[in-house]
Symmetry: D5
Subunit: 115 residues, 10 copies
């Protein structure tokens, strides 16, 4: 499994947001074995660390031949990115291409726990 | 009548939203017998179950030769999907193609009852 | 004058919205005698009755050769539709085509009076 | 200077909004003497009077050969239109064409003073 | 380093907003030495001074051959513009072109400190 | 019936083309009595005379309450404009709005007869 | 089977073209029993007769529940319309919605036989 | 009158084309005194000289307050640019904004005379 | 390797064209091991056989994890489809997504040999 | 100066075309010292060699800080790419961003000399 790398947030005292939009995400449907395609948009407010872009690209490649459902893959990306970067807030939106004439969009959000 | 199937929500502890957009919905006008066409967008926050996509497609096919008015079909889709999936929140938006030079959009919403 | 017909709201217990978009509205400028063109969008939350689509189309046709100003026609459509359908809420947006290089948009709203 | 004409608001008891969009505004840069081009959008909630469209067009023409900065022209249009029509609320948005590779948008707002 | 010039706000008593959109920003990736391209949008509510457009253009040119990361450059533009113009509020949005199949958008905001 | 006016071609020795696009044409369906809407595009190579734009606008207004079929109206516009302006070549394209879910486009052409 | 009606060409001495665009065509896949959706564009140069628009709409409705392949349905529409209207030239373009991630476009043409 | 400047064609032995698109052209209607707006596109194959861009911009400014008809201004721009640059081929396309609900496009062409 | 299936052309006596557009093609760059994404459009005039759509989809899947250059993959698809369907004419257009800031489009064509 | 690399054409017996579109080209205006931005599209029919994409990207970077006019840079790119790849045909289209309110497009072509 690819390690998502991080680097120190250059402005940890300011709340600001970062979005990374990947229109080339692809995984495999566990039922049919056929590929699924999606645009994945990650938006977050960094805490002490930012997500390194190149390692994010390699992380997405791990799904290329993996069988996983729409709802599960979106939640897993959020869980993995939260674990590694501990953001103040993060949202993952996955817009899947038409399957059987229907488009699907999954939106998941994480809020930093109260301390 | 097609049974809408469900599967267990993989993340029942997180509030997140799922949208399914179907631009190929068609039913029949009960007055004229002519077909109506619409884009149906279902958006919901799942509770314990998610709606299975393939059975949703077959459910929509049941309307193909059924005579039913715009307002009624939109409300019925919401009622049927709520009954089977018991979501925390659900919205159905039906955008009907031009009839007599006029487009129509019906928007219905369901909120989970307080316990 | 055309009578706008209504039919009983199939779901009077649920608050939901209905939009009818007519991009083919035309009336006559009372000053110049030249035609005006607009897209009229009516959106409302029905109470006990819904507006019948075909009679709405014929109602709009009554304006085809009538001289009336932008602000007046938009308010009149709202008044006429409210009188006949007694909605919980209604909005009329009229987007007029370019005249003298300027586009105009009039937006009027009605709220049901407190009982 | 052109006089902006007004006419009595046909529905002074109802709060509603009116927008006039002019994509053909042009003035002159006081620094370079070169023309500037903008789309000016005026939106307001009328009080007792509405702005007459034709006189608005002629009012805009007064700027055609006048040297004036972006920020100043947008504020002046708001001041002039407020003075003449005394609206409940008014907003002027000026979207200027690219100059030196940069587009500029100025947004100014007026609220009726408390009585 | 280019000095960002300012001029006195022509309407310091009115809160209004100014946006400058530059689709031709380019800097250099400090890791690869390859150029990055972005659209930079600065929006602010001026206090006593406005940012002079031509000096802003020259300020952006200083980044043309400078190695700097996405997150850092967006924060630095905000810091530099705030220092010179002391606005009531300012936002900088940087939308970077596709790198490795991924687009990135950084959004930073400044609020005037309470006095 | 409105007279289409002409004026002398300022460059009769050069072959060049003129297009006039009218997106606000409306006539009446002789079968149903309901209005039809179309965009009419006239393109021609002038001979000795050009068509005057304002009289063309008034000519189109004559169709506003006239019952006439798609194919007939397009041919008649061509015949009328050719009779009055005797162009080297003329084309009329009429793009009618959706009726019964179907858009129609009629294209007619005239070539100057050999002398 | 619906009869496609025709009416006499109002200008049989002029070669001109007529297009009818139907974005609401639907038939059934004979393999899967699932519906197919297409935009059908018929363009022709009429001879002595034109195709009547309303009967064309009803003719298309005959395919609503009929199992037929993409290539076959496009050829059959051309054959049926040629048989009934005997045009100088006709083209049928069928643009089918995505199936299995692939869009298909079939283009067939008919030329009048030499006499 | 502004002089259109030229510079020597850097590749006189190769036939290639140059287009200059100006979406900010404005002149005055000689009938009404109101401004007209157009996008002017000049395309040419240079001979020995190319048109200098900055002087072209100033040349266009000469029309800002000049009363001239659509057909005449398009032909004059072609004549002026041909006189000064003697191209192998040149085309001027002028797309005028809506006046009285109608857009106009004038297209004129020049071919080098046989030697 | 997947076998591309064919079926008998239902109208072998008529020359007509068939296009299949696949926006979800993906292969692997042999140099970097990173995935490439493309839209592949196959257009052909069938002879005795047509290409079966489902087997075409599976044929494309064979490239999912295959290392192959842009120019080579486009030529190979043409060669494979020509070998199996022996069309009168075929064209393959491959539009590759941005790599290093550059989009690439490869277009290859096959003509039936003279007999 | 970067060397543009080539690789052997995998199908030298087939005439086919290759396009590379670079929307991130930038050079410097020799008059003002300000940057110019363009989209450069190279299209060619290869002979024995194809242009290697990565070296093309580096070749374009050489212009980043070079002062050169629109017409000259477009011709030079064609000359350099022809010299290195000796194509059967090549076209370079350079679409420059707005300068002084005017967009410019330069199109140059090369044909292989007869042998």
């Amino acid at each position: 499994m690819t390690t998502i790398e991080t680097f120190p947030n250059p402005n940890p005292n300011r709340e600001y947001s970062i979005s990374h939009v990947n229109p080339e995400f692809t995984s495999v449907c566990p039922k049919t074995g056929l590929p699924d395609f999606a645009t994945i948009t990650v938006t977050y407010i960094p805490n002490q660390t930012c997500i390194e872009l190149k390692s994010l690209k390699y992380y997405y490649l791990d799904f290329r031949n993996k069988g996983i459902f729409f709802e599960a893959v979106t939640n897993q990306i959020l869980d993995d990115l939260v674990a590694v970067s501990k953001p103040k807030w993060m949202e993952v939106v996955a817009e899947f291409n038409t399957r059987g004439g229907i488009n699907s969009i999954i939106t998941v959000e994480h809020f930093e726990e109260e301390k």
